[in-house]
Homo-oligomer: 100 residues x 3
């Protein structure tokens, strides 16, 4: 089975940011995404909506270049204002030519 | 704390495929799995049910051999017909002897 | 974009253990966590509540030291009694100074 190494980006943010985050992913070249509804609590005392509550967990498989664009855009547009967590991992994906 | 390095397999697919995918995991030697209900959108225009909608995200901890069997079976039985995403990562698991 | 390499810990357990697991994470130094409701089935025949059912999937970004403390505490307090799965991965996190 041939696999391709790509970046899995995970973003956790307050639910009301979902649409804006999906727009950002698209602009940066994401070909798809998955959203899960989660709950959580973070290290920042201030949140835009409520202190502890409904979050979304977005995941997207990205080329290295697209992942870098997403992280830069998140920093520019979100990190100063919202309690957003973002991290990347390398994964081996089947039919990976769709993502790079 | 002793840990064992195993494969974490993630499969994202339309919800109606859940039972068939769980059957595939079992046949290939999975000892357990986790299912989360997610939403998403992918790079394929055609979906069996609706364009954008309810998906499941299945995760399973597997030996390298079982992971290879699962990916081969997914390719044989699913990839030509359905919008299935599958990727693997290496994780360090506690009580990992259960998985290998 | 500067990132920091930290541990992503995932714990999957029966739902009624959620509060106790969050307490354990806090005690061990976690600065935040995410909870998703999931379903699943594991390799242990005996579960405290029901055989197959509602689980939670907790995730937390941790320093290596905090991750080791969490795994040791899980072993001491949970593994003998409950069907708990725990694994760690390395991830590259933005604004990672919050976690280490």
């Amino acid at each position: 089975m041939e696999t391709v190494r790509v970046k899995l980006l995970t973003v956790i943010a307050e639910s009301f940011l979902e649409e804006r985050l999906i727009g950002l992913l698209r602009r940066c070249g994401a070909r798809g995404y998955t959203v899960a509804e989660v709950r959580g609590e973070g290290s920042r005392g201030v949140r835009a909506s409520e202190w502890e509550g409904k979050n979304v967990r977005l995941e997207s498989l990205l080329s290295n270049e697209a992942a870098a664009r997403v992280l830069a855009a998140l920093e520019r547009e979100f990190f100063a204002h919202y309690a957003v967590v973002a991290y990347t991992q390398e994964v081996e994906v089947v039919r990976g030519d769709k993502y790079v």
